[in-house]
Symmetry: C2
Amino acid sequence: MNEGIAAPLGFRFGVSEAGIKYCNRKDVGLIVSNTPASCAAVFTRNAFTAAPVVVSREKLHQAAGIVSGVVVNSGCANAATGDEGMANANRMAAIAEETTASGGPFLVCSTGTIGVQLPMEKLEAAIPAAASNLQVSSEAFIGFADAILTTDTVRKTASRTFEVDGKKVSIAGCAKGSGMMQPNMATMLAYVITDAAVEPLFLQQIFSRLIDKTINCVTVDGDTSTNDTAIIMANGASGVQVAADTPELHPFETALEEVLTELSRKLARDGEGATHLVEITVAGAPTFAEARKAALSVGNSPLVKTAIYGKDANWGRIACALGYSGVEFDANKVDIRIRDLELMASGTPIVFDEDRALEILSEEEIKIFVDLKAGTKTATVWTCDLTEKYIEINGSYRT
Amino acid sequence: MNEGIAAPLGFRFGVSEAGIKYCNRKDVGLIVSNTPASCAAVFTRNAFTAAPVVVSREKLHQAAGIVSGVVVNSGCANAATGDEGMANANRMAAIAEETTASGGPFLVCSTGTIGVQLPMEKLEAAIPAAASNLQVSSEAFIGFADAILTTDTVRKTASRTFEVDGKKVSIAGCAKGSGMMQPNMATMLAYVITDAAVEPLFLQQIFSRLIDKTINCVTVDGDTSTNDTAIIMANGASGVQVAADTPELHPFETALEEVLTELSRKLARDGEGATHLVEITVAGAPTFAEARKAALSVGNSPLVKTAIYGKDANWGRIACALGYSGVEFDANKVDIRIRDLELMASGTPIVFDEDRALEILSEEEIKIFVDLKAGTKTATVWTCDLTEKYIEINGSYRT
């Protein structure tokens, strides 16, 4: 049961059960590269940055983008935890560095409840336990993908391989997150590993640009969390070098974008309480940023999200959300359709077949297309519908 | 049963039943001033501006701020209705002008479903019917307040009086709106009438400033609608003139702000599916706009709103929403409390009494205080909690 995941060469994975918040499941995970790996990361921009984010950013900087692995816990976010939280985040990394003896620094991530200190006595035992059982298999990677989950209902993994001159390169990724999701890295953790060799700075450029088009286009509820982190490690174990102006660059970027897109779609589909994956594409914007802004305005509208839940082709709410997005366009030119069903053309409502609308909205995946006719740029964002279940989950999370 | 409403002198009110969407209730309302009145208004900034907003803005401008009244229908928003919608909005005003024979122009408002044409044959009969039964009483004003409601569960009215040199001035207001609410005039209609005499330009200055501190600080779900309109009419029937540097100005502004604040609180409390009124005050911001931005970020967070629904003093979600508000502050200085219960001091969580927290969160009105310690400005916003009922209402509105 490896879900077709092709684990890149030269990485090992370990998990253990610290019992931080959840019972009878793994809540600590390690990814270890056999050799120091190039690393790039994108972190939350929330002003209340969690301790592990502060620590990881600093360690990545100090190590000039070369690390040995990551250590992650779920169940406690180690956010808004003051000096004690900073010491604990540093200690988590130190335990991982010591017990894996892999020579390089570890980045550290936490996800879960905000404002509670980590139970360090549990982690002092659990991180070494994970380190003592590191495995190379795809199944072990999946075990890691499971250990980072919180309110997620399904694991999120994706992988791609490509070959250049007979040499195979693998990219595998996993992610967690289902609430408090919004661009700029919500309560979202994503890890991508590859056996390609990529210089750290170049890797950061590629990763930042692709995250902007993928993970940063996912929204569940507009909340950007204190802990969001996406990390990529490239250890070169495939023997294939990816650099600017090489034939390897294009297939590498394509494969990486596909992995990140698949993770993004899985994150949106598993939005808390979701019954639909909603893909919103806004074309005809002056810039990518404005296209995304308009698409996110639609994707974050509770009225659009509840209409989709109610299988209601309520294009008025879509138009309304475009209208208050802050993006400038001429309302008399806008086209809106859901899949192939035209709802508005040049700002005028189209009389549509309600049966066909119900049919389309009964599908699990809803595709909304908007043409603003105010430029040439396009963005796609992914979200989900808003249901009673979201309220139930979040009305009783902490207590 | 006039709810203690003191109806200002020189206004008449009429309602009728057009049967646009609702059955067995009034859905058309008129306010008519006996003499042409100074008028000021604040309209939605949504790019998909509804026809009645376009028409009212234009009529107010052409009339240099002197009008005879307003005509309103509920059940159909006349938004995204193209040229036919514009003609219909103009026609609604014309019917009101003709049948009331009051000499001046009428502004026009519509609220309800977007993208559906008004049933003009019904309005051709219903507006004259309302005009044929104009009454002066407070009860008639309340009848108007009822006719403008849509998904609201309660009417929203407020009034104040003050005396200057033995002359009494009355201000009365009513509003509707319970979903699609957000600053910059959500699906919100508000009408204020006063028998003070105020020059149109001066009235607009006062009204715009006070709306910014009141109605534009209400949010239910972050959606700003296509139709939002707040209108004030001042007909001078009290014989009291309000102008700059007069002793009447201060009591007038105070009374008007109180009326608008009361309406704002009632709008938030009746947010779709709400079980709590939530008042969020952010102090210590560099500017009022930034204080409001931070407060709205908290007020729009689905996670904060569901936590309040669940009676959970989850200050982590409040901190998180402040953190992604885009307002700059030092996270290590922030204080957060709910009523008198300290949750965070100088960025550090406080261990609090959970029983006391549950007690406070069981009250109908929740007051959240934040001090950013990044300036001297304060803003208060009003919102409500997010419940399953909101989903139920909006998941099945149109169909």
